[in-house]
Amino acid sequence: MTSVFDPELILYTTAIGLITIGLAGVVMSSHLFRMVLALVIAEAGANLMLVLAGYRWDAVAPILTSLSEPAAMVDPVPQALVLTAIVIGVGIQALAVSLLIRIRQRYATLDRKEAAERMDSEIAASMGAARDVSQDAPLGERPLPPIPADQVNMRGGDAP
């Protein structure tokens, strides 16, 4: 290696850094949307890690150019895995976003703690168990302001 820096070390540090930052972000952020963003970052780190697992310096991309003299290629398998992982990630992300939209509509908040408390009190209410539920918390279906009352019946499925 002629260079001042070891490229593999840079890449490895980046991957670990992204994973760590992402996971720390998921654990610490107080906003549900930020949690999803942090998850995206962590996933990016994991993908980088996986590509790095098959990376060879001084090798070419895994596409045959001349049939007679195959050159040294980087490992194609991790690249195929990462293709899969990226698409899986975006699917989960879309799902998370649609959940967020619903939560925002029902609870009018995306604060992590607030949403969790609302959920807990709703679960407790649905179980009929005695839990000191403050009266302003919704017991049944969303009585919350963000949706005007005349639109309630237009929404599918959940209207009472």
Partner: protein, 228 residues
């Protein structure tokens, strides 16, 4: 307080993982499976792009699983966001540039999308990348004309049949007495557009499915009502 412990924990974790770097030599992977695949891929699958031969040949069932995951995500999003949409009022009409650009770009993007899909076994790219571009091509008119709607019926038809044809190609191989998802019709035309047997068919199925799924996902997102 919780933040501080979290930060310390994350820092410690990162440091621990970094020290592990000493145990690995990146840059010189063992390539136990990789080099075997490189040696055999052109003969066994007929694809010049070895990543494609891994994605659609050696690990085809992973790809099937991945398609299913995308499908599951789209179905779940449909379940969550419901069927009825209110499009009125929440969107502003696209400007002239967006409107004209959208109409101009649509055929161009379709061409590029299908080009990428059909050349997946020769050059970088393939069903996933092409599918995303197809989805973008269908999504553009939605941005330009807020009133426009995608045909969800058509989309779900494409989605279902594309996914089914991926499996059916696999089952076809079984009927020929081979293994499930084994590539068929490997001819000695390495490097040409029509080569690699069933792989381009599989990639076409993947591209159509991904495109239809993403288009319906995006349109669902854009058509749900925004809060005031």
């Amino acid at each position: 307080m919780g933040n501080l412990t979290g930060l310390l924990f994350a820092g410690g974790l990162g440091f621990m993982l970094l020290t592990l770097a000493g145990g690995l030599d990146f840059g010189t992977p063992p390539m136990l499976v990789g080099s075997e695949i490189q040696a055999h891929a052109p003969q066994q699958t007929g694809a010049v792009n070895i990543v494609t031969s891994v994605v659609l040949g050696y690990r085809a069932i992973d790809t099937l699983g991945e398609l299913s995951i995308l499908f599951a995500a789209a179905v779940s999003a449909g379940l969550i966001l419901g069927r009825r949409h209110t499009t009125a009022g929440t969107q502003t009409k696209g400007g002239f540039i967006l409107y004209t650009g959208g109409s101009l770009l649509f055929p161009l993007m379709m061409t590029i999308g299908f080009y990428i899909i059909f050349h997946g076994h020769l050059t970088p790219g393939g069903g996933f990348q092409g599918g995303v571009i197809l989805a973008a091509a269908f999504f553009l008119p939605l941005l330009a004309r807020p009133g426009a709607r995608l045909h969800h019926k058509t989309l779900s038809l494409i989605e279902g049949f594309a996914g089914a044809s991926f499996i059916l190609v696999g089952l076809l191989a079984m009927m020929e007495g081979k293994a499930f998802l084994q590539p068929l019709l490997v001819q000695d035309t390495l490097g040409q557009l029509i080569s690699a047997g069933t792989l381009p068919l599989l990639y076409l199925a993947v591209g159509l499915k991904v495109g239809a799924e993403l288009a319906s996902l995006l349109s669902r997102l854009i058509q749900t009502e925004a809060p005031q």
